[in-house]
Amino acid sequence: MIYLHLFLAFLKIGAVSFGGGYGMISLVRETVVSNGWLTDTQMMDFIAVSESTPGPIAVNMATFVGFSQGGVLGAILATLGVIMPAFLIMLLIASVMKTFMKRKGVNAFLEGVRPGVVALIMSTAVTMGLSTLFGVGGELYVNILGLAIIAVVATVSVLYKKYRKKKISPILLIALSAVIALCVNLIIHG
């Protein structure tokens, strides 16, 4: 039963994903690829889409995966699954356990979780890079365009931060890399 499967899969993701939307990416990727719901490439395309549309990335991803597997009902169930743990936990904290977060044990657990989550996020980026830029996991190649785009995007965002004193919007970076890739490909392939 796909509906139940979607709901439970995203319930699990919602319950253990610390560190916001990016913390969720490695989990969602693992779940959708192992279930054969999406390929790695579709997953990356959709991360770009959820970066460019409003709303929390986690909710966007749950809706997208849910819709692709089970239509509107699938989208709603996956979304409910992903938000339910956060909702219930916060309700509990807000109502009875205001001092919960100050418990030493909770704090110690989270001190261990935080670096793990950051490692998962960065490793996800590294493995995604290995697969799109060098074809690791299939036939090996070097994606020169991709490497060049990363170099441009990194330079632009560092310069932007230096001169404008704030973080550049991811949407701008996505748009920039789309334009570069489109132009280069049009010149090469026509």
Partner: protein, 218 residues
């Protein structure tokens, strides 16, 4: 303001926030602050920072965490329910509409060309988000240890094509955190002169319930 009206205000405010924040939870923080600390004065600046800290350290999207918390504080259970639904509804509608056309959209040649660049950009975006979070971590040996082990395991498992469970990994990291804490609190009374270890740094603020938490951590 009557309770019904508060609930309605919460719903509409979070609907607006859900519809206009691009770039996930962190982008939302600025909007939430402007709305609830600045305009409506429902929260003080300290309370707001506490909500973010709690939201950061509990699982789930930050947007949901803060909507639930603020909603509950202002109008109880229905407040939290309506705030959470409000923040989620725009995403669900927008993404469902996009999903309807996504496959057809991706088949255009120009779109495929553009997405070749976008994929590289996504790698950069995720990596730099990780890097920002890395800089915010506590600078302790155990932090680097957990980070190094998890990253090495994840990447080598990927290269050799072995399945990896992030869930088990996250729980294991939490247990390592508890274990280190338990060790630190057990060691404290016995080896008072043991220097150069990571747990020494945590000593001053960990003096409250060392025995009990040490027992709970095993």
């Amino acid at each position: 303001m009557s309770k019904g009206k508060t609930v309605l205000t919460l719903f509409l405010t979070f609907l607006k926030i859900g519809a206009f924040t691009f770039g996930g939870g962190y982008a939302m923080i600025a909007l939430l602050e402007e709305e609830f600390v600045g305009r409506r004065k429902w929260l003080t600046h300290e309370e707001f920072l506490d909500i973010i800290a709690i939201g950061e350290s509990t699982p789930g999207p930050l947007a949901i965490n803060s909507a639930t918390f603020i909603g509950y504080r202002q109008a109880g259970f229905f407040g939290s329910l309506c705030s959470t639904l409000g923040v989620v509804i725009p995403s669900v509608i927008i993404i469902t509409v996009i999903s309807l056309f996504f496959d057809r959209f991706m088949q255009f040649r120009y779109v495929q060309y553009a997405f070749e660049g976008i994929r590289a950009c996504v790698v950069y975006l995720i990596f730099s988000a990780g890097l920002r979070m890395f800089k915010g971590l506590k600078k302790k040996p155990i932090t680097y240890f957990i980070f190094g082990v998890v990253a090495a395991l994840f990447i080598s498992f990927y290269i050799f094509g072995i399945g990896f469970s992030s869930v088990i990994c996250i729980l294991a990291c939490g247990c390592v955190g508890l274990f280190v804490y338990a060790l630190a609190s057990l060691k404290k009374p016995v080896l008072a002169d043991n220097t150069g270890e990571s747990e020494n740094e945590t000593r001053p603020r960990d003096t409250e319930f060392p025995q009990r938490e040490g027992g709970a951590g095993k």
